[in-house]
C-alpha cells in the first residue's frame, strides 16, 4: 500500500484530486440532500477494499494514519468535488472513542466491522425536550445482572434507518445532577425493544429518525469507559470535527449557484442585485480566510478553542443570506419545487433555502453558540 503520509502535502492533494475526478460517480456529485446508505454503498465499499474507510485512524487499527494537515486536505478535496457523505459516525466517532477508551475486546469486536461497513453506526445523543441541552438527558440505563436495561427515546438521529448500531448516552446514576451520572453504551439495533421511525423533514426527505428504546437489554461489556463518565468522553470526542460546522463550502457552493442563476438571468447588469451579491461575496471570502486560520491551528496540532463557534455562526448565517437572495432572484420561480432551467444549467433555489434552514440549528443552535462565545470567549459575567 502506498505511503500517503510520505507524500509532500501538495502532491497528496494532487493525487487525491486526480483519484476523485477519475473514479467518483458523476451522478453522486453535490447531492441536494443527505444520501441514504444504499445510494452510496458501492462507492464506499470500493474505498473500504482499498483501505480508505478511516483516513484519520492510526495504521495499527486499520486506518490510513494521515497527519492532521493531510486529513484536512482530504476533506477539502471531498468537499470540492461534492462527494456524498456516508453514514460515517462509526468512523468519525465510535472508532476514536474505542481507540481511546475501549477495551481490547471492544476494539477487536467493533473496529474491523466499522472499516468494512458491516456495522453502520448512528449517534444517540439528542432527546425530545432536551433540545440543545444535554444536561436534561432522560434515557435511563438500569443494571440488571450482566445487562443494562435501557428505556427512553432518542431523536434527530441521522440516518438511524440505515444503521445497525447506535452509540448512546444514558443516565446510569439517577441521583447525579446534570452532566454527571451519564454513561456511554454501544447498542445493537436488532435488540428487541428498539423501534426506529424516520422523520420527514420540511423538504420531504428522511434524514433523521426517532429511536424508541423499551426495555432494551445491553450487555455490560458494551459499556465504554467507566460508568458515569459518558459526558466527559463525549466532550473529549469533539475534536477538529467542530471545524467543519464552520466550513465555508456550503456558502461557497450556494454562492456559486446564485452566480449561475444571476448570469443566466442577466442580473449582473442590475446594480441593486450587484450590491447585494458583492456584499455576500466578501462575506464568503472572509469566512474562507477565517476557516483557513482555524485550519492552521489544526495543522499545527493545536486544540481548537471555544472561539471556533463564531465560524459556525457566521458561516451558517451567510449561507442563509445567500439562500434568501437566491429565492428572491428566482422571482416567480421562487415558488416552484425542483430545479429550474437557467440558461444551460439548472438551479434549485428552494433546495438552497431548505438546506440553509437547519444549518443554523444543527450542531448546537446559533443561539447556543452565541451563549458559548459570550461566556467562554468574551467572558462576560
Amino acid at each position: 500500500m502506498k505511503d500517503w503520509n510520505a507524500l509532500p502535502d501538495d502532491q497528496f492533494r494532487v493525487d487525491i484530486r486526480a483519484f476523485l475526478e477519475a473514479n467518483y460517480p458523476e451522478h453522486l456529485r453535490y447531492p441536494s440532500r443527505r444520501m441514504r446508505w444504499h445510494e452510496v454503498k458501492e462507492w464506499y465499499l470500493l474505498r473500504a477494499e482499498q483501505g480508505w474507510t478511516a483516513p484519520g485512524w492510526p495504521k495499527e487499527y486499520g486506518g490510513v494514519g494521515l497527519s492532521p494537515t493531510k486529513q484536512l486536505i482530504y476533506i477539502e478535496e471531498l468537499e470540492r468535488w461534492g462527494v456524498a457523505r456516508a453514514p460515517d459516525q462509526g468512523v468519525i466517532m465510535v472508532g476514536h472513542l474505542l481507540i481511546k477508551y475501549g477495551t481490547d475486546a471492544q476494539k477487536k469486536e467493533f473496529l474491523p466491522k466499522i472499516l468494512s461497513w458491516e456495522h453502520i453506526w448512528c449517534q444517540g445523543y439528542s432527546e425530545p425536550n432536551a433540545g440543545s441541552d444535554l444536561a436534561s438527558l432522560r434515557t435511563q440505563a438500569v443494571e440488571d445482572g450482566d445487562d443494562y436495561v435501557v428505556n427512553g427515546q432518542k431523536t434527530w438521529t441521522t440516518l438511524a434507518q440505515d444503521a445497525t448500531h447506535m452509540f448512546l448516552l444514558a443516565r446510569t446514576d439517577q441521583q447525579a445532577k446534570k452532566q454527571a451520572g451519564i454513561s456511554f453504551l454501544l447498542v445493537d439495533l436488532d435488540t428487541p425493544g428498539v423501534t426506529i421511525r424516520p422523520i420527514r423533514n420540511i423538504a420531504g426527505h428522511e434524514e433523521f429518525c426517532e429511536v424508541f428504546l423499551e426495555d432494551v437489554r445491553v450487555p455490560k461489556r458494551n459499556l465504554v469507559g467507566a460508568p458515569n463518565e459518558g459526558w466527559t468522553m463525549a466532550k473529549a470526542l469533539l475534536g477538529f470535527e467542530r471545524l467543519f460546522l464552520g466550513s465555508p463550502k456550503l456558502a461557497q457552493n450556494a454562492l456559486g449557484r446564485l452566480r449561475t442563476l444571476a448570469e443566466a438571468r442577466g442580473l449582473f447588469s442590475d446594480q441593486g442585485f450587484v450590491d447585494q451579491f458583492a456584499r455576500l461575496e466578501l462575506d464568503v471570502a472572509d469566512l474562507g480566510e477565517a476557516y483557513e486560520s482555524f485550519a492552521d491551528q489544526v495543522r499545527a496540532g493545536q486544540p481548537l478553542g471555544a472561539d471556533i463557534s463564531w465560524l459556525k455562526v457566521w458561516g451558517t448565517e451567510t449561507f442563509d443570506r445567500i439562500a434568501a437572495l437566491a429565492v428572491q432572484s428566482a422571482e416567480s420561480y421562487g415558488a416552484l419545487a425542483g430545479p429550474q432551467r437557467y440558461g444551460d444549467t439548472d438551479v434549485d433555489a428552494l433546495v438552497l433555502y431548505f438546506d440553509a434552514l437547519p444549518a443554523t440549528i444543527y450542531g448546537g443552535t446559533n443561539e447556543i453558540q452565541r451563549n458559548i462565545l459570550s461566556k467562554q470567549v468574551l467572558q462576560l459575567p
Binding site: 433540545g131 431523536t155 422523520i199 441593486g272 442563509d320 416567480s332 433555502y353 434552514l357 443554523t360
Partner: protein, 378 residues
Amino acid sequence: MNDSADELRMLADSVVQFARNDDTLTRTRALHKGGAAFSRETWSTLADAGWLGILVPEDSGGLGLGLREMAVVAEELGRARIPEPVVAVAGFTASVLSACDRKAAASELLSELASGATIAAVAWQEDPTDLDPATTHCRATHEGNAIVLNGSKCLVLPAEADVFLVSSETDEGVALYSVPSDAPGLALERRQQVDGSWVADLRLDNVSVSADQMLASPGQGLPALERGLARAALLAGAELTGLAHRLLGMTNDYLATRKQFGQPLSSFQALRHRAVDLYIQHELMQASLRHAFRTLRPDSPLALEQRLAARVKARTSDAAMRIGRESVQLHGAIGFTEEADVGIHLKRIMALSAWLGNAAWQRRRHFELSRNTQQEVA
C-alpha cells in the same frame, strides 16, 4: 362605520367557524400525499358559504360586496391555511372578469365561478421573469367566423381550472378569451409549487374560439388584467397576513411552553426580543393593509389601486418570509420536520410571496409608481 365593522367581524367569524370544523392541516397533508392540491368538495362548501361570490355582482349570483370583505375572508382563510386557491379564483379571476367589457359573457362565467361549478384561472403571463401583462406574444387571428389563438402561457394558477382566461394580442390591442381546459389544440403541462399547489404552462396551437367566448374586446384586455392584478396582490397580502399571524401564535405558544435548561424558552431574552421583532413585522403588515382599505373607494382610479397593492404586497411578502424563516429557527429542530405545522405554513408563504411579484419586485414597482405620481403632482 360600526355597522360595517360588525359585518366584517361576522364574516371573519364565519370563516373561523368553517376552519374549526375543517381540520385543514390534516386534510391538506392527506391531499398532498395523493398529489392533489385541493379538494373540489371543500370548494363547493366555500361556494355555498358565499365566499367565492363576494366580488361577484348580485345579478350574477354573487354577494356584490367589496375588496375589503374579500380581504377579511382571505386573511382568515390564510390563518386557517386552507389549500384551496380562493384568492386566485374568487379574487384574481373574479376581479378580471368584473372589469371585462363583454358583460354578458363575463357575467355568465362570474355566476358559474360564484356557484363553484366552474374554476376559472387567468392565463396572462408568458415569461416567469416578466410580470408586465402588456408583454403578450400570444396572438388572436380571425379565421372565418372563428378566432384562432396561438402562443403560450406560464404559471397559470390553479392548473386544475376548468376554464382559462387567455390574454391575446390582436391588431387593436390585448383581448381576453375564455378557453375551456379541454379545448382542442390546448396542451397543458403542470408544475408543482412548493406549497403543494400546481400551476400550468399552456401551449395554444390553433385553439379556436367563438365570438361569445370573448370576455374583453381588443384593447380592453389590458386594463382588465391590470385591475385584476392589483386586486389579487392586495388579497394575497391579506392571506399572507393571516398566515403570518397563525405562525406567530404557534411560535409564541412554543416559546412559552417548551423548556430548556429547566426554563421556558421565552425566558431567554434573546428569544423574547426576536418574538417582539416578529410581532412588529406583523403589525406592519396590518398597517399596510389598513392603510389600503382606509384609502380605497369603489371608484378609486387604477393607478391608486396599483400603488396601494404594490405597497401591501411588498410589505406582506417581506414580513411573512421573515416570520416564516424565524419561526422555523425559534422552533429549533422540530421546526424543520415535515410534521411540524410551521413548515406547511412557511411553504404557503413562500408560494404567495413569489406570486405576482415578490417583495423586492413590488418595492421597485411602488417606488416607480410613487415617483410618477410625485412628478405629476409637482
